[in-house]
Symmetry: C2
DNA sequence: CGCGCTGTTGAAACTTGTCAAAGTTTGTGG
DNA sequence: CCACAAACTTTGACAAGTTTCAACAGCGCG
């Protein structure tokens, strides 16, 4: 299915990748590399794939071959429990790396699903390892990226383990806001790409609870929500809500 | 404090480390390396430190210099929220690596606390990076270790996000059991090194809830608990409980 | 040997989940 | 381009699970 969807009016050839000319350089794998080093990356990252909304880049159990850099669009990753329950473990935005879960066992451990039409740059992992044995700066940066993923996960664990529904949603909105800002978008006005159910799954809440908290935030004048469109009205108060009492 | 505690009747000299003669080789960083490669690691991992129960190996904010391999004992790692709430993000057993959270920002993001008298092998990170540029096998294994940490965290997120109290505790006990087994200890008879409060913090529950669920498991004939001493009586039924209804 | 930390248990309160119904949006096919 | 179906969202009432508060017991360290 993913393969099918990769065939798209715009052919792969036309999508010849070049990190050196990519606008996401400063967010993505090339971050911190010299121009010379980035052009060496170009030989590594040679393929870009398109995914329609709903398409999977990989699924749990697939053999692990490559990491994926999100060139444009939005992804979620989900893990599945034997009994059918599943959980969203993360949402990915442009410039972020997908697939690091697969390194440890040579097989992916979660599904990666496009939440809107998206493009991924394919980074063959063995070649990334080869190159990072040659380029100290690439090695160092890749280690930092993996480490930050661990730290991010710790943050989510904190959220799931010790925050109440309102705090979780406030933290979630704050996090989105910050990541949009880093990409040059508005910190306070954006469209959600995921459903209430997906937000709930990520935050350990039911979709009804997510909906109720959105409504409450709106009633309190913190935000304005209309379906997927969110405007954050009072960022400081939202931030305050994350760590501390309702005040 | 940690420094003070490192000075111990057994001096550092006597604790000259040698991965090549270490019994944890098969669980720890040297896993999968040839004898020749392991002896090269010996030059890297040259220091071992002792920590008394309660001592910190590092705390959030400390500058990141090294990873630590747990040679013996038991550690917990905890993250702190601004408002004082904290959460246990993991428990570490012999052979496991601590400190990978610090790579991303050159500063640790959590506290690492010894739950009993423990020994850590110090692995200076820049030297580990140097050596893993030379030894493909070391590079590859280190990446796997980091990736598995991410996968482990996803498992905890799943647990915190979609399991109920009994399922969480059953999963926790099953996980401990499995890790003890891997180290040659009994799968069904062990001593907890952490308090009910620490278990609760890790599992996103209050200590009273943990205590109640322990009591219920005992009443149901699943386990026997006396304070820190746990005997798992019915492993299959405990496993069943993790993913599915109470049956 | 006692004080403090840890663990257990009960009852009440609170947060979130469940079930249900209705409204809204989106996408598709005629 | 409209109509319809499917998917998503909102809201209410009630139920269930977990926390909170409180009291007490046990063990272990000094």
């Amino acid at each position: 299915m993913a393969e099918h969807l990769a065939v798209h009016p715009i052919t792969i050839d036309k999508l010849r990748v070049a990190c050196s000319t990519c606008g996401l350089k400063e967010l993505c794998l090339p971050m911190g590399l010299t121009n010379d080093e980035v052009s060496r990356l170009d030989s590594l990252v040679s393929l870009r794939k398109m995914f329609r909304k709903g398409a999977l880049a990989y699924r749990a159990g697939d053999s692990f071959e490559a990491l994926y850099a999100l060139r444009s669009g939005f992804f979620k990753t989900t893990v599945l429990l034997e009994d059918g329950r599943d959980q969203v473990t993360g949402f990915s935005m442009a410039g972020e790396l997908l697939g690091m879960d697969g390194i440890g066992t040579d097989a992916h451990t979660c599904d990666a699903v496009a939440l809107e039409d998206s493009e991924l740059c394919v980074i063959p992992f063995s070649r990334l390892e080869d190159m990072s044995r040659e380029l100290h700066s690439l090695q160092s940066h890749f280690h930092k990226v993996m480490s930050r993923e661990i730290v991010r996960d710790h943050g989510v664990m904190m959220l799931l383990g010790s925050m109440r529904a309102e705090e979780r949603l406030a933290a979630f909105l704050g996090n989105l806001s910050q990541r949009f800002t880093a990409r040059g978008y508005s910190a306070s006005d954006f469209y959600l790409r995921m459903t209430r159910e997906e937000i709930g799954s990520y935050l350990g809440l039911k979709l009804e609870t997510v909906s109720r908290v959105f409504s409450k935030f709106q009633a309190d004048g913190l935000i304005s929500v209309q379906h997927k469109h969110v405007v954050i009205i009072d960022i400081p108060r939202l931030r305050q809500l994350v760590a501390g009492r309702t005040c």
